[in-house]
Amino acid sequence: MSEREVLELLRENARYSTADIARMTDLEEDEVEAAIEELEATGVVRGYQAVVDWDKLEDERVRAEVELNVRLDRETGYDDISQRLARFPQVKALRLVSGDYDFDMEVEGDSIREVSQFISEKVAPVPEITQTVTHYVMTSYKENGIEFGDGEDDERLSFSP
């Protein structure tokens, strides 16, 4: 159960120190370290990344959510198509989903032109892909559970009974 607790805290903030996690879970620091090693070794934790609000940066960063429909044949399955798409560095996330389309793909680039070109030249021509629908991200309000509103001031009294 402690591994699960450690995992929850890492998801909350991967930069919590092992000492802080130990304080919050009442575990010893070496137990926390062991739990993290185990989570990494078994592939439960695949990596650690910053959650970025691109609107705060001057550099343009273009992101798009792309819906993909595919047609399968006897030789080609979803896994085959996913392997082909996932290797592109522009693809930040790729998920097989239920519903009106098959894959949900997140793409990033430096410009709309770059993202459009990538979809039209690299993705659309994949023979099994029958349709792409691209949604450019205009504003992000929340990513990975973190809200991007400018921190509201704490309006509570400094002291209360």
């Binding site: 805290l9 802080d20 304080r23 879970t25 704490d154 002291f159």
Partner: protein
């Protein structure tokens, strides 16, 4: 002209924390660990229910005792969570915060000259409430050696066997102490033996981190002499909505309702809709907030030990109660750590007997701020060691 103030108002001194407000206002980088209210927003479903009720124009008075559907929901909730059985028609009153319910109880059951024993340290409004009702306060100190739990010996030493009423608040503000069933049982026996009315403020009941909360009203022979207070401010993060309730025997609730109907008429209607939704669908939000408080509790307790300040192992509410280092009174420490480091804490003295030499630290504040505040307290302690 100047108003001639009533003796009762003049008797009550100004709040012990008022001076600290002024110091806190002088600087803009204060991290406050002095607040007794959640830093979480009211669960969205409850806010949405409040908004919808406004859109539908539901802004008239409700029944004096509160909407019946809300009283039914409260009856179901306390039965389910705390094994308490109360009739929504006659034994429950919905009030503007648990504070109003406490005031109604003092004014309903205290006659001038009556003695009200208060287990201390405790929430700062009980004592003025007793005085405003014309009663006399009998402090019953608890101490750290007993984990700030109330004991029969403590009651006897304070002379509470002669009192008319006993006020309890567990889980406790400010210490974070809890009273498990085995500790409450002898207190219940004492109350029965000495014919004490018991006011039990259980507003922090959901915030119990070690074991289950037990209400003193659940012991044999206690239901008929106890008023239980609870509300939505703490566990449901609804402080500003001002909604609480009291549970008790029909004649006692009728007496409280008599004052309530002439002063408040009914609790805020919008808040009653929010509360109904909170009971109906926000259990998971409460569980999540409690889990967060528990993590912060572990963090704060552990950091105080690292800093070298003795700290009581709080098991409820969202407070911990460290001892101030030697060479300071609680008030001096609170004032200087606020001036030098910009950390607001409350000196334990303001909570009555047994609170001196301690600080109330609220961890109803985000972890990043808690970490920074404790680093500043550590720096302060190092500077003055």
């Amino acid at each position: 002209m100047t108003f001639e103030l009533s003796d009762r108002v003049q008797t009550v001194p100004p709040s012990g924390i008022r001076r600290f407000f002024e110091i806190a206002e002088e600087r803009d980088d204060v991290i406050s660990l002095g607040v007794g209210e959640p830093d979480f927003a009211t669960p969205w479903a409850a806010r949405d229910a409040a908004i919808t009720s406004l859109e539908q124009g539901k802004t008239s008075y409700t029944a004096n005792r509160g909407r019946r559907d809300l009283r039914e929901a409260i009856a179901d909730y306390v039965a389910d969570r705390f094994d308490l059985g109360y009739d929504p028609d006659e034994e429950i009153i919905v009030t503007a915060g648990a504070s109003e319910a406490v005031d109604l109880a003092f004014r309903s059951f205290v006659d001038p000259g009556d003695t009200v024993a208060i287990a201390q340290p405790s929430y700062i409004s009980y004592e003025p409430g007793v005085i405003f009702a014309g009663g006399e306060v009998l402090p019953v100190p608890t101490d750290e050696e007993d984990d700030f739990r109330l004991t029969v010996e403590g009651l006897e030493e304070a002379g509470a066997d002669e009192a008319d009423m006993l006020v309890l608040c567990y889980p406790n503000n400010p210490t974070g102490a809890i009273m498990p069933a085995e500790d409450l049982e002898p207190i219940a026996e004492f109350a029965r033996e000495h014919d004490l009315t018991v006011l039990s403020d259980e507003i922090y009941a959901e915030l119990t981190y070690d074991g289950e909360h037990t209400s003193i009203a659940s012991f044999e022979g206690m239901r008929e002499r106890t008023i239980v207070f609870n509300g939505f401010s703490k566990a449901h993060a609804m402080t500003g909505l001002r909604l609480g309730y009291a549970l008790g025997p029909a004649d006692a609730i009728a007496a409280m309702n008599k004052i309530h109907q002439y002063t408040m008429l009914s609790a805020p209607t919008t808040a009653q809709y929010a509360a109904l939704e909170a009971l109906d669908s926000c259990e998971n939000d409460v569980r999540e907030m409690v889990a967060q408080y528990d993590r912060r509790r572990q963090f704060v307790l552990s950091r105080f030990r690292e800093i070298g300040m003795d700290v009581f192992e709080a098991k409820g509410a969202f407070y911990c109660f460290p001892e101030v280092p030697e060479g300071f009174t609680a008030e001096e420490f609170a004032e200087e750590v606020l001036r030098e480091q910009g950390v607001a804490v409350v000196p334990g003295d303001v909570f009555g007997a047994g609170g001196d030499g301690h600080l109330r630290i609220s961890y109803a504040t985000g972890l990043e701020d808690l970490r920074e505040a404790l680093a500043r307290i550590e720096a302060f302690v190092d500077d003055h060691a």
